[in-house]
């Protein structure tokens, strides 16, 4: 994203050293660029453009898209409620075992999501370690519900928010917080009136990362929430299952996800380049 703030420098140096381009760097770079861009271009080439409108308006696509947008937003909201305090705890307090806690928070970041789905099922399932009591006492079973989709998404996406917010918290000048404290503000007031506004860009960036990750969640969702149209079948699940029945429909769904991703990047670009 910050690339756009250096256009002039790039142009100038490019003109000056045109004869000494290090091909050993440029060739792999172009290869890498092609590798990232070509598959998406292929998606556009193979898209059934003539039938696109009708397919986009079909009830199946609409249900999956609404479910995906709704669950990803709910997962982001939950991640904000729980993740920001967690990030604050990691950045601002020195409790024993903090490094272990930070390592634990990052585990879902590197864990294959499908493993997360298995773990969630074994703990929160109807027969799970905790889910069993929930079911016995209330008759409520979490798997196969929309709530399960949100739980799976929070599990895989919240670490992105925590890491992002913790980084932002470590980056701010603590003298403002100390000044507020010496003027009599409580820790809660300092957090709310001083800290939070200062890390707002970091929170926003983390929330967007978290939202995008939740939107793309597949493995943990299909494992923990199952697959039912309108209830737990999010866009990625729909893409996977449509690929077996009608590849054209899968391509249309993929295009929608691609469009949403590009839209998020465009919105973010303005926000991020606008902040110092």
């Amino acid at each position: 994203m910050p690339v756009s703030s250096f256009p002039e420098r790039g142009r100038r140096s490019g003109r000056l050293s045109a004869g000494r381009v290090p091909w050993l760097l440029v060739l792999p770079a172009l290869l890498g660029l092609g590798f990232l861009v070509l598959p998406l271009a292929g998606l556009l080439v193979r898209a059934p453009w003539s039938a696109l409108g009708a397919r986009l308006l079909s009830a199946g696509v609409r249900d999956a898209l609404l479910l995906s947008l709704g669950t990803a937003t709910a997962a982001t909201a939950v991640s904000l409620l729980l993740g920001v305090p967690l990030a604050w705890l990691l950045a601002r307090t020195g409790f024993p075992g903090r490094r272990v806690v930070r390592a634990l928070v990052t585990v879902p970041l590197v864990l294959p999501p499908v493993v997360g789905g298995v773990a969630l099922l074994l703990v929160l399932g109807r027969n799970g370690v905790l889910g069993r009591y929930l079911y016995e006492w209330t008759g409520y079973s979490l798997p196969f519900t929309t709530a399960a989709v949100v739980v799976a998404q929070v599990f895989v996406a919240m670490p992105f928010l925590v890491i992002s917010v913790e980084g932002a918290l470590r980056g701010v000048d603590r003298r403002y917080e100390e000044a507020a404290a010496t003027l009599g503000a409580t820790r809660w007031t300092v957090f709310r009136r001083v800290t939070l506004p200062m890390v707002a860009p970091g929170v926003l960036a983390g929330a967007v990362l978290c939202w995008s990750r939740a939107l793309g969640e597949f493995g943990a969702t299909i494992m923990f929430a199952g697959n039912f149209p309108g209830r737990t079948q999010t866009m990625p699940l729909a893409v996977y299952l449509e690929m077996q029945r009608s590849p054209e429909a899968a391509i249309v769904l993929s295009l929608v996800l691609l469009a949403v991703s590009v839209l998020v990047l465009v919105l973010l670009r303005d926000r991020w380049t606008g902040t110092p």
């Binding site: 399932g125 196969f144 199952g226």
Partner: protein
């Protein structure tokens, strides 16, 4: 420098192979078998047998929903043998890629209701699957067990709203094994393969949907010779015994 250091022992190894012609042609060969998820146990067992009979040959399996495998093959995945859980899915590969030596029907399978050992919802018939509060999982209709499930449910006139459409039959079975679902429509063979993990409940309408398992050598695969031998093993008395032991019916 580094390459030549590697190359020297390689040459020695190659020379050694040349002295023993009996083994040289089979060294490091791989037979790739794409098979329906419900064949996991049977083919896994036959694979060990095949590797014993063909030293130096490795059998690699990809077990998944038949339609997912068919889709991969049509999109250019490389495999020597394809075994699908119904003939309609095999036909997609016959049309899209081409199949020599077959396709041949080598086994039949019917559906059973799988329930957890304690059968918490008291499922005893297809009708019970439609009762309120019974968490049923079905195979997605794109895969053969899903198509078969729809056939029997339609024949019985039972409308079931599942809690989830699973992508293959093993996924549906796992939901019941873990106790997350009260019942699933799976193949009789899957119930047997789960041992005591699930109970099978017979229902009279199962005869409405008999799945014919078809096998064939995929055109363009790297090992057509080994593929033919694999199919011969499946059709041999030994193969037939493994199939019937697992609950399949021979055609």
């Amino acid at each position: 420098m580094r390459l030549s250091r590697l190359a020297a022992p390689l040459c020695v190894a190659l020379a050694a192979c040349a002295c023993a012609p009996g083994t040289s042609e089979q060294d490091g060969r791989t037979l790739t078998v794409f098979a329906a998820a419900s064949l996991t146990e049977v083919f896994g067992g036959l694979g060990e047998r095949f590797e014993e009979e063909h030293p130096g040959v490795t059998v690699e399996f990809s077990f998944a929903g038949s339609s997912a495998l068919a889709e991969q093959l049509v999109r250019g995945a490389s495999a020597d043998v394809f075994a699908s859980a119904d003939t309609a899915t095999m036909d997609r590969v016959v049309d899209g890629v081409g199949v020599s030596l077959g396709p041949e029907v080598f086994a039949r399978n019917t559906l059973q209701i799988a329930v957890p050992p304690d059968n918490p919802a008291g499922v005893g018939s297809l009708d019970d699957l439609a009762a309120d509060g019974v968490a049923v999982v079905l195979c997605a209709e794109e895969v053969p067990c899903g198509a078969a499930s729809r056939t029997v449910l339609e024949a019985a006139g039972v409308a079931v709203e599942p809690v989830s459409w699973e992508e293959d039959v093993k996924a549906a079975l796992t939901r019941v094994r873990l106790g997350e679902a009260d019942a699933a429509l799976v193949y009789r063979t899957d119930v047997l393969s789960a041992g005591g993990g699930v109970l099978g409940v017979d229902f009279p309408e199962s005869g409405e949907a008999v799945n014919d398992y078809a096998i064939g050598v995929v055109d363009g695969g790297p090992e057509p010779g080994l593929a033919a031998e694999w199919i011969a093993l499946v059709a041999s008395p030994e193969g037939e015994k493994v199939l019937t032991d697992a609950g399949f019916v021979l055609p």
